[in-house]
């Protein structure tokens, strides 16, 4: 049985923990709203971009002159996994779910005899993947200093990935990130960006004139498309991170509350027990006289 003093200290310490988690939850809620707005604002661009490229890809895709970013290198030996995670912890299973998906994919590819290269964005993913795949790392992008995620950041990553592709370092690139579904649910997602793949690509419904040629525009757009997809993934990830942190901190606050209640009951019981014990001592002392 811990002493009264120890219990009291314990309660105070849990109370201050609860204050911190509560504050973190509120900060995450505010950041989540901002992140969601940013993701919302980026949607029209990504949507339009995707639609136009999908249309172009259908009409150009079959020809021999199709750009390599669309048609691929003709191989799928070397895979680049771009793993997007957060810079900060205390966000529940957010990073672990992405890393688990990436690790599973990496193991599958290795088992199938492919070469796997890993590029990480965000400190947390690097720490977790380093344990198993340290020799397969080709790079790391640190976004720790970035306060507000901008398109420039995505462009930087895209430039790095595209330069590696141009030098023939890999054949297939896949992005790993958490898609924001709701505050309590984020879906770890793998998305292939090189060679480009489009969802719902049916031929352009209107017949367009193209200036310059279809191939010219496509060659111009594909690198931008990669940057756009990375940007979208970063934004989704940002919103997911805050959502995950918010629910993790909400749970932590509730657990701290429960713990305080339990400790308070225990404290009161032992105080009562101490009083009873003293009374018994006094009474039995008086009776002995």
């Amino acid at each position: 049985m811990p002493s009264l003093k120890a219990l009291k200290n314990r309660i105070t310490s849990v109370k201050s923990t609860r204050k911190i988690t509560k504050a973190m939850q509120m900060v995450a809620a505010a950041k989540l709203r901002r992140a969601q707005e940013a993701a919302e604002a980026a949607r029209p661009y990504a949507g339009r971009m995707n639609a136009v490229m999908a249309g172009l890809a259908v009409s150009v895709g079959g020809s021999d002159s199709a750009p390599r970013l669309l048609a691929g290198t003709g191989n799928d030996k070397v895979h680049l996994l771009v793993v997007l995670t957060s810079e900060r912890g205390l966000c529940g299973g957010f990073n672990s779910t992405i890393v688990r998906l990436a690790r599973q994919r990496a193991n599958e590819l290795i088992a199938a005899g492919k070469t796997v290269k890993i590029l990480t964005v965000g400190k947390k993913g690097r720490e977790q993947l380093k344990r198993d795949f340290a020799d397969r790392f080709v790079g790391h992008v640190d976004l720790g200093a970035v306060r507000r995620l901008g398109y420039d950041d995505a462009q930087g990553i895209a430039r790095d990935v595209l330069a590696r592709f141009d030098q023939g370092e890999f054949d297939v690139a896949t992005l790993f990130y958490n898609r924001f579904h709701s505050v309590i649910s984020q879906v770890p997602t793998a998305r292939q960006v090189i060679p480009a793949s489009f969802e719902g690509g049916q031929g352009a419904s209107t017949l367009y004139d193209y200036e310059p040629s279809e191939e010219g525009i496509l060659a111009d757009l594909l690198p931008r498309g990669v940057a756009t997809q990375i940007f979208t993934a970063l934004l989704e990830n940002g919103a997911s991170e805050q959502g995950a942190r918010m629910s993790a901190m909400d749970n932590a606050t509730r657990n701290a509350g429960d713990m305080i209640n339990r400790l308070t009951i225990q404290y009161n019981r032992s105080r009562q027990a101490a009083i009873t014990k003293e009374l018994i001592e006094i009474i039995s002392g008086a009776e002995a006289l």
């Binding site: 004139d209 200036e211 756009t228």
Partner: protein, 137 residues
């Protein structure tokens, strides 16, 4: 005949403009073009330049670089990597863009050196056009 059409200017980060316009002058990679309501469907890539739209109230200019424009029956959509209202563009921004273009030109692969020279020239022309003084270093 409808004399107005929908015009959207979208960047990766936000929707900069969405309004009804009479005409839009687009700096296409093959030359300037003016889109008015009923223009034939067209997709063109952009070169750095000034995008001007004529609304009922008057003319609004935007500086755009990189991206493409789509013209169809419902209106004009411009997707630009960087877009700012001309009035918000400062000397520093132009200097930054020119410096970036110069760097690309200097480091360019021989195969794309013409393209980067064109980009640089476009940047300088863009700066002069909006009354700033782009410096070549």
């Amino acid at each position: 005949m409808a004399d107005m059409m929908q015009f959207d200017l979208v960047t990766p980060e936000r929707r900069l403009a969405s309004l009804q316009v009479r005409e839009a002058r687009i700096p296409g990679s093959e030359g300037e073009l003016t889109a008015m309501p009923g223009h034939a469907p067209l997709i063109t890539s952009l070169r750095p330049g000034v995008l001007a739209v004529l609304t009922a109230e008057g003319e609004t200019d935007y500086v755009v670089t990189g991206g493409f424009a789509e013209v169809n029956a419902s209106g004009v959509t411009v997707l630009a990597e960087i877009a700012h209202p001309t009035s918000e563009v400062t000397q520093e921004m132009i200097d930054g863009m020119v410096a970036e273009a110069q760097r690309l030109h200097r480091d360019a692969h021989p195969g794309v050196v013409d393209a980067t020279a064109k980009l640089l020239a476009d940047m300088v022309a863009l700066g002069s056009r909006i009354g700033l003084d782009p410096k070549l270093s």
